[in-house]
Amino acid sequence: MDHSKIKYYLPDFLEQILPDEEYIEIERHINNCNDCNEYYFRLRGLIAKVEELPAKIDPPTDLWEDLFKIILKKKNYEEEGGESRMKSINEKSSRKKGFSFKDLFKKK
């Protein structure tokens, strides 16, 4: 593998998703090539920064008041015998395989 290919596969190397042969080849290369070794450490630094990103970002406005109105509406609706939106969620989830939106909810 040349230098550009080594750099291309470094994210896969760090994620340990390469076949053993390629993993060993890259490991050897970055131990012997200053340029790729430096790139490897910069990439690790970048991934570390991404891992450290805050899990939360506060929205500029407080949405609670609007949501509270929705809760009150829902209560009134249910008291009048209305049904939940589960039907529309089932319709929205058109994906046939993999993890779909409706998989987030219990079956009704």
């Binding site: 750099k7 291309y8 994210p11 896969d12 190397f13 760090l14 994620e15 340990q16 998703i17 490991e27 970055i30 131990n31 790139y39 490897y40 910069r42 990439l43 690790r44 970048l46 991934i47 920064k49 991404v50 891992e51 450290e52 990103l53 805050p54 899990a55 939360k56 970002i57 506060d58 929205p59 500029p60 406005t61 949405l63 609670w64 609007d66 949501l67 509270f68 929705i70 809760i71 829902k74 209560k75 939940s84 939106r85 589960m86 969620i89 929205k92 994906r95 395989k97 993999g98 993890f99 939106f101 987030l104 909810f105 219990k106 009704k108």
Partner: protein, 177 residues
């Protein structure tokens, strides 16, 4: 040499959250409010990093909690509350990105610069200015910890395409950070 191992995601709620969920299901508004306050930042972060658009991130955050209000009785027990609302946020955001004509027509570059101006982390500032086609798989895989397979499935593209986009995102970010 060290490789990177991802942390397992917790899928159980602690006693406080479980009790808030039960009270919210029983119609306790204060419990709902606490669940909202504990999770709104998490939901907004997901929407903002995927959308790179202030208006749509706020609107979708609102829609996520509307869904929570409507469907809390159907929350699966094997998901933590935060994991559950995050999942709803990811699905609703991707659905809006695919189907909302107004969003599709927005000037994405200009919007991402507006988002950049409100973010605190330099890494975030660079991520939101990545083109959408490489930013979304990067955020889903590297920040939200979806596997390559799950990311491909969520986006409706091949795993090869996801891997290629993520590498492009890295190469783009390496030039900036």
């Amino acid at each position: 040499l060290h490789t990177i191992k991802k942390e397992p995601v917790l899928n159980r709620d602690n006693k406080l959250i479980s009790s808030l969920i039960e009270n919210a299901k029983a119609g306790n508004n204060s419990a709902f409010e606490q669940l909202y306050r504990l999770n709104v930042g998490r939901v907004y972060a997901v929407c903002l990093r995927l959308f790179a658009n202030l208006r749509f991130s706020e609107e979708t955050t609102r829609k996520v909690f509307e869904t929570v209000i409507e469907e809390i009785n159907f929350k699966r027990d094997d998901f933590s509350f935060t994991g559950w609302v995050t999942g709803i946020a990811v699905h609703l955001t991707l659905s809006e990105m695919r189907g909302n004509e107004i969003y599709k027509e927005t000037d994405k570059e200009r919007e991402s610069l507006r988002v950049k101006s409100v973010l605190l982390s330099n890494t975030d500032k660079f991520i939101v200015t990545l083109p959408e086609n490489i930013r979304v798989p990067f955020v889903l895989h590297y920040i939200e910890k979806y596997s390559i397979e799950e990311t491909a499935d969520l986006m409706g593209v091949s795993q090869v395409e996801v891997t290629k986009s993520i590498k492009e995102a890295f190469s783009n970010l390496m030039g900036k950070l």
